[in-house]
């Protein structure tokens, strides 16, 4: 196989994988929430209701596509893809496994190992905001614009603590490439702990996780679309598959954030204490590493759902307060201490 063919296969694989996660997540969200709330959830379509997302998709596609009369039409149409596309693109730099040897050719399980992969993820996260803001503004509705404005403020202010938390990681590993970061996390730390980011940077992890929830617009930070106040916020006026794209983009976003968390803080595809490559064949090792990565990612995806059905929602000013008054100072202190330690130890 030629390189570009391999790349194409990888792109398609990652795309399908991202889609699949988003699709399954809509099902998990409903069923898990139902189980937490003493309900059953959708269980009619297919076994365990697994075909429910498909039914939803069909429903969304067959609905009438309405563009409000006074909306900015071009921007209105542009909003949803602008939101969903960056979420998909961020997957490109996610190392979803170690490597696989096929026909004597070593294939790394990552679409492209960009050496600034980390900045690329942050940049795409920032672009995703435009989808919300443009969608909210173009709808020409007061609820939508409020949602859009909240999204802007929230995402911009939470990018700072997120960046600070990530900077500490960069300091620690001395690289921007996600793949190298994962490789650096193998082995043990202090003799007994796995050499994972979370043990070296517990505070950084918490800051990152909180910021990730805010970036993904999940409860307790789902202010841009909080249902009881702003109807559904920035996508109030959307219907049909445009709405579907927004909802879908959100779940893809979750997948990305969970993957990044795993890469940075949980050692990516590696298992603690065990080196799988020693006793597994080259092909099975590739698959196993992907499975390990996926399980870790799945845990964080479940955590997103789990937290959502446990806690209430912040208020707008409290959210900003948490971001600017708590997380950013903490992040700065954390960065400073880490920088000091790194400077002293190296």
């Amino acid at each position: 196989m030629v390189d570009w063919q391999i790349d194409l296969i990888k792109v398609i694989f990652i795309w399908v994988w991202a889609l699949l996660i988003a699709v399954v997540m809509t099902w998990v969200e409903r069923r898990a929430s139902a189980m937490m709330q003493d309900r059953l959830g959708p269980n009619r379509a297919g076994p365990f209701g697994l075909l429910q997302p498909l039914a939803d998709g069909i429903k969304l596609f067959t609905k009438e596509d309405i563009i409000p009369e006074k909306a900015r039409k071009i921007l209105f149409v542009l909003g949803p893809p602008l939101f969903a596309l960056p979420a998909f693109s961020a997957y490109a730099v996610v190392p979803f496994g170690d490597k696989i040897v096929l026909g004597g050719k070593e294939i790394i399980l990552q679409v492209s190992d960009v050496n600034i992969g980390f900045l690329y993820v942050l940049a795409l996260g920032a672009i995703g905001v435009y989808g919300m803001v443009i969608g909210g503004w173009a709808s020409n509705s007061k609820y939508s614009i409020l949602g859009g404005l909240r999204a802007t403020a929230q995402l911009i202010s939470y990018e700072v603590p997120m960046g600070l938390a990530l900077l500490t990681i960069v300091l620690l590993y001395g690289t921007f490439s996600l793949r190298e970061m994962v490789l650096l996390q193998q082995g043990t730390f202090l003799g007994f702990l796995p050499n994972w980011g979370i043990f070296k940077q517990p505070l950084g992890f918490i800051i990152f996780l909180v910021a990730a929830y805010a970036e993904a617009n999940r409860v307790p930070f789902d202010l841009p679309e909080c249902e009881s106040e702003l109807v559904t916020g920035y996508h109030t006026e959307y219907g049909s598959m445009r709405l579907g794209l927004y909802l879908f983009g959100e779940y893809v976003n979750l997948g990305t954030l969970a993957a990044i968390t795993v890469c940075l803080f949980f050692g990516g595809w590696s298992l603690p204490y065990v080196d799988m490559s020693k006793f597994l064949g080259p092909v099975s090792y590739g698959i196993a590493s992907f499975m390990v990565f996926f399980l870790k990612q799945a845990f964080f995806l479940f955590l997103f759902v789990w937290v959502r059905w446990t806690v209430p929602r912040f208020r707008y000013d409290q959210l900003m307060g948490l971001g600017w008054k708590a997380l950013i100072p903490l992040g700065l202190v954390n960065l400073f201490v880490t920088a000091l330690l790194v400077q002293l130890t190296i």
């Binding site: 929430s33 937490m36 709330q37 003493d38 309900r39 007061k142 409020l146 409860v219 307790p220 789902d222 909080c226 249902e227 009881s228 106040e229 702003l230 109807v231 059905w309 446990t310 806690v311 209430p312 929602r313 912040f314 208020r315 707008y316 000013d317 409290q318």
Partner: protein
């Protein structure tokens, strides 16, 4: 009545009315419980002024009452506060019985008490659940609503309907406590407590919840009295007033229960008072049930009343403590079989008229929290 705690009140600074956006919330809005509408002027997220508009569920119950007989009007009272229909039924029955000058037998009073307190628990459970939902915590709602379902089952086995109960009749109740109640109550008492406890663990000490509720929509006791607040809303402001204690009806003067009061009248106090009141209601039911069990099995359930009820000419007002506050019925009789004028004093009506003042200067999110914590029931509000 006793003022428990004196709180310090300050007048917050004058609102700067510059540029504002008029934001119309409702009547079709997820948080506007049915058919409410608030027209707000907002500066960013801050509310400069809010004006509630009502009447979207106006059915002319009072006009209908003038054209129906006393017994026919009873089912219409279900449709006032549909979360606790039994309280409305009993309030109306007591008012008509006062006009007739009769008192129902002891057993009927106890059954009414038990059913009313169950309805009160159901109402509070809905309120706390909805408050959680509106603040983004969906899970407690389901834990609580399951308990409400159990209570509804008892209602169903007692008088045949779950929501629109039409319990009893003028002169007593038609049915004895059902077997379901005897079987279920000892277990249900614990499950209700467990659900409340779980809600408490999920919400009360959670900082997000505390930030969202403590100090939000705080209201002074004097203003509350001036605006005509009653019930939990008034008690949250620190005024110990409960018609069950102050103007006892049925047999409430024989029960031992506490009246919880708050301090600041904020959303948190309203929430806590409702949580505590559920516990008190359980206590009352236990006591009433103990008294009930001492009565002979064939004790009378009904007072002999004529088939066509014709109270003598005159006018009476009778109020009870419904879950929302003072629910009163004014009945003017002209000696015929239909009430000449019937006026309902809904508790949330008086609270909702102060809504503009309650939310002024707060944020849009607080408006939603405030609305849920008042427990505005459109059926009762518009009548």
């Amino acid at each position: 009545m006793a003022r428990e705690i004196e709180t310090v009140c300050i007048t917050t600074g004058p609102a700067e009315v510059g540029d504002y956006v008029t934001l119309n919330i409702g009547p079709i809005h997820p948080a506007m419980h049915g058919t409410l509408r608030v027209i707000t002027k907002t500066d960013g997220e801050t509310i400069i002024s809010a004006e509630p508009e009502i009447g979207y569920l106006h059915r002319g119950v009072e006009k209908l009452g003038e054209n129906l007989t006393y017994k026919q009007f009873l089912p219409l009272t279900d449709r006032l506060n549909y979360c606790s229909a039994i309280c409305n039924n009993v309030a109306y029955e007591l008012a008509v019985e006062k006009a007739l000058g009769i008192e129902v037998p002891e057993k009927a009073q106890l059954i009414r008490t038990i059913m009313m307190e169950l309805a009160r628990i159901a109402d509070h459970e809905v309120l706390v659940g909805i408050l959680g939902v509106d603040l983004g915590a969906l899970t407690p709602f389901f834990y609580l609503i399951i308990q409400r379902e159990e209570i509804y089952e008892i209602f169903e086995w007692h008088h045949g309907a779950r929501l629109t109960n039409s319990m009893g009749t003028i002169g007593g109740v038609e049915a004895d406590l059902p077997d379901r109640f005897h079987q279920k109550w000892p277990k249900m008492r614990d499950t209700i407590r467990k659900a409340n406890d779980e809600t408490d663990r999920l919400l009360t000490h959670n900082r997000i919840w505390m930030d969202r509720t403590i100090g939000v929509n705080a209201f002074c006791a004097d203003d509350a009295l001036n605006w005509g607040f009653t019930g939990p809303m008034l008690r949250a402001c620190g005024v110990k007033r409960d018609l069950r204690k102050d103007e006892p009806y049925l047999m409430y003067d024989q029960f031992d229960f506490e009246v919880p009061t708050g301090k600041h009248g904020d959303v948190f106090d309203r929430y806590m008072i409702r949580m505590l009141e559920m516990e008190e209601s359980i206590k009352i039911i236990d006591q009433a049930y103990a008294m009930y069990q001492k009565l002979p099995e064939d004790a009378p359930l009904m007072k002999k009343v004529p088939k066509i009820i014709k109270p003598p000419e005159g006018q009476i007002y009778h109020a009870i403590e419904s879950p929302n506050g003072e629910l009163g019925f004014f009945i003017k009789s002209d000696g015929t079989d239909k009430p000449y004028r019937i006026k309902i004093r809904p508790p949330c009506y008086m609270v909702y008229q102060a809504f503009g003042e309650l939310v002024q200067g707060e944020m849009i999110s607080d408006l939603i929290a405030c609305l849920s914590s008042i427990n505005v029931i459109a059926g009762e509000l518009d009548r």
